[in-house]
């Protein structure tokens, strides 16, 4: 732990975040009380109002309240460590979402028994096969979607593999742009588009299943 007043932490670039999740707590330079109070006030103002959005994202990823709490807490601690690298007026929400998503991938998925990454190859061939194509949303009617209650829609969303779930949450629930999603997920915009496209098709399949079992699709 550094003992000098040290405001020289601009060296920590945002890129570090996500690549070194296990950074020691002690790497935060100690500030004099006044500087720390200023930093804390700034952090509070910029980041804390986003806590419910982050919690919602964490919950939709982990599907567990305790896990969501841990993930959000970890995200804030990490953001605090790198707060000096945060440029005011830039997209705080996208930055925090990125940290959270990286924490989820780096630390969290290992601990929990989540299924591993989607096999995109498999998904791709699934969509390229003609017999399956026949079934996609053929008779998913607008009325049947509109009649569904939130829980049914949420269940359909939760049934998707985490990468597909994630992109739908970011786009449709949180309203991020393609460009922001590309940054949050570290993928090219073209991949954002195609993944979103697949995710929605999978979701519609699930919705259709529900519509079928609930008798909405008569």
């Amino acid at each position: 732990m550094m003992t000098e007043d040290n405001l020289n932490n601009e060296e920590i670039r945002p890129e570090n975040e996500g690549h070194d999740p296990e950074l020691e707590k002690g790497s935060v330079p100690e500030l004099d009380p006044k500087a720390k109070a200023e930093k804390d006030a700034q952090f509070e103002k910029e980041f804390m109002p986003l806590i419910s959005s982050l919690y919602n994202f964490a919950y939709r990823l982990t599907l567990d309240e305790d896990d969501a709490n841990d993930l959000v807490q970890e995200t804030y601690l990490k953001a605090y460590r790198f707060f000096a690298s945060y440029e005011q007026g830039t997209n705080a929400k996208a930055w925090l979402f990125r940290i959270l998503k990286n924490s989820f991938i780096n630390d969290f998925r290992k601990k929990s028994k989540q299924p591993s990454k989607v096999d995109y190859q498999e998904v791709e061939s699934f969509y390229n096969s003609d017999d399956v194509d026949e079934n996609i949303t053929v008779d998913l009617r607008i009325e049947s979607i509109q009649d569904m209650i939130g829980d049914e829609v949420a269940t359909a969303l939760n049934a998707l593999a985490v990468d597909f779930r994630t992109i739908i949450i970011l786009c449709d629930l949180e309203g991020f742009t393609y460009e922001e999603m590309a940054k949050i997920l570290d993928i090219p915009i073209g991949t954002v588009r195609s993944r979103l496209h697949r995710a929605r098709n999978l979701l519609k399949e699930k919705l259709k299943e529900y519509a079928g079992t609930m008798g909405y699709n008569k």
């Binding site: 509109q146 449709d172 519609k204």
Partner: protein, 93 residues
């Protein structure tokens, strides 16, 4: 590896061969629904809807799915103790 949009579009409505001209529209559709299309793309696409029932139907379904996701899924709020826990952790950092 590109999806065959035409086949897929066709399969939605059970007439694969007929929808061959709608490839470009399907690509714009997602952009329009997500508010990512250029003015020109959007205009072209929305005009096309007047002339093409399958694209119109498909657009309505996509829009509805998005609206339902936006409006019907419960937004979980962070429990009150969470912010307090975080603040007290930060205090000691």
């Amino acid at each position: 590896m590109k999806r065959n949009f035409t086949n897929w579009m066709g399969s939605l409505f059970g007439k694969p061969k007929q929808k061959a001209t709608c490839c470009d529209c399907i690509k714009s559709l997602q952009l329009v629904v997500d508010g990512e299309a250029t003015k020109q793309q959007e205009e072209y696409f929305l005009n096309h809807l007047d002339e093409c029932m399958p694209c119109y139907n498909f657009y309505e379904v996509e829009k509805t799915v998005k609206q339902v996701l936006q409006n019907k899924i419960e937004k979980k709020s962070a429990p009150t103790h969470l912010a307090e826990n975080i603040r007290s952790r930060l205090k000691s950092m």
